[in-house]
Amino acid sequence: MLELSGVTTGYGRTTVVHGVDLTVPDGALTAVLGHNGAGKTTLLRAVLGLLPLRAGAVLLNGADVTALAPHKRVRRGIAYVPQGQQSFGQLSARENLQVVADAYGRAGRRRTDEALDLFPALRDLLGRQAGLLSGGQRQQLAIARALVTGPRLLVLDEPVEGIQPNVVSEIYDAISALTSSGDLSVLLVEQHLGYAVEHAAEFAVLTSGRIAHRGQGGGPSAAADARKALAL
């Protein structure tokens, strides 16, 4: 589905991510773990095309998309849920979904409905201004908005960071539901081991912008390996 080869990127004079190779297979959950500041968000921004590469390539379904603008990558099946429960704050929750659905006609409306089935609580909040929703509600809205694009690969950046505990399980349940069909690949970035190491087919640990460890998810040894790689 997604293949990163030698991805190198950064800001200004500093290089933050150094030659990262990573593969997200079709229909699988792949996790990237790393401490605060390891370069996880930077890596994801490069995957989306929000940050230009200094070296390396991003391949989507075998096609090189390194030079494509982010919105064109979205058209090819990547959806992105950025860190920090981002929404179009002045738009209503409904408009946050509509603005994406507009581009897809009938399919957009159908996928909006499906996304709302995943997070039924959002249905009562559609008229509210998105910026005034709680963090958990905004994160659910962000995931729903990403799903409206009809993705084949969902990229999630610390989806439960700063979310109230009762919503955390709802979000993880939704991710599990999405991956269970096997149609959707997920690239999940986390600071914490829990869900990611348990559910990922494969995971990688990012330290100072380099992949320091790779492992298979599930099983008790996976968590131990990851913990060691993260030096916890």
Partner: protein
């Protein structure tokens, strides 16, 4: 009675300011750049009315043709400027200010070369000549027409922003460009369309100005500063704020003019706006959100 006359003068001036500022507010809000050539897009709209009248003859028909044509002419100039210069200077306000000021001077010179330096007149249609008498007060029909035109433009823009897919995209890009891109929205295309519409509104404003007096190559310079005062005082990119600020500035100007002179009034209005911005730097209407995004 005097008060009502002043009130009308103020509202009328406010409607002119509003037409000048509406498009500017849109482009300023979208790109975070100051387009000094906005006034020259108005000038281009005014000359469009002049040219159309030269071709069509009938003042009424030519006015009704010039309004959409002025929109297109202003819009195309804006599109050209955005595609060639402004998008390269995205979020570099100072550079954009200087470059678009240069473009403004060039456009003035082009107008001088094409139409000559002296002012020219565009005839107002017969149905806009004279005044409507209300309670002993004579309200010029041209002024009433401009008030109505400003109202139509505001409502059309507000509706377009609020209830159309394009409007949603524009608001989304203004609020979070990266998130919009990452949600499948082309921010470049959205920028261009926004610039077309904002600059087109300047063209319409220019056509309207031909009803108030003769027009010349420097027409735009008379309005650009006031238009900026309105945009900044109203809160950047906010239609509601722009409407309130334009009305308030028009009324202030009219009332100050009544008690002093036009140029003193201008200074007083300027001081009032600066003082207001000290108290409320974000302008009249600002954004309420929990998150920054």
């Amino acid at each position: 009675m005097d008060i009502i006359a002043q009130l009308f003068a103020g509202l009328s001036l406010g409607s002119v300011l509003l037409l000048a500022a509406l498009g500017l507010s849109l482009t300023f809000g979208q790109m975070g750049v100051i387009n000094m050539a906005h006034g020259e897009f108005m000038m281009a709209g005014a000359y469009t009315a002049f040219v159309v009248q030269g071709v069509v003859g009938d003042a009424g028909v030519s006015l009704l043709l010039a309004l959409p044509l002025g929109f297109v002419v202003g819009g195309l100039l804006g599109l050209l400027l955005e595609a060639t210069l402004i998008h390269r200077m995205y979020r570099r306000p100072l550079d954009t200010l200087l470059v678009t000021w240069g473009v403004a001077l060039v456009l003035q010179q082009v107008a001088r070369d094409v139409f000559g330096a002296p002012n020219v007149d565009v005839r107002a249609p017969a149905w806009l000549s004279g005044a409507v008498e209300i309670g002993g007060l004579a309200l010029p029909r041209t002024r009433l027409f401009i008030l109505a035109l400003a109202a139509v433009c505001v409502v059309a823009l507000a509706l377009a922003l609020r209830a159309t897919p394009l409007g949603r995209r524009i608001r989304a890009v203004v609020q979070n460009r990266d998130l919009a891109e990452a949600s499948g929205i082309s921010s470049r295309t959205t920028d261009r369309v926004t610039f077309f519409i904002g600059s087109g509104l300047a063209g319409i404003a220019g056509v309207a100005l031909t009803l108030l007096g003769s027009i010349g190559p420097t027409l735009g310079t008379n309005y650009i500063v006031d238009a900026f005062l309105v945009v900044v005082a109203g809160g950047i990119g906010q239609v509601k704020g722009t409407v309130i600020a334009a009305t308030a500035l028009g009324l202030m100007q009219a009332f100050f003019e009544y008690s002093t002179t036009a140029s003193v009034a201008k200074v007083l209005v300027f001081v009032a706006v600066v003082a207001f911005l000290q108290l409320r730097p974000q302008g009249l209407v600002s954004v309420r959100t929990r998150s920054l995004a």
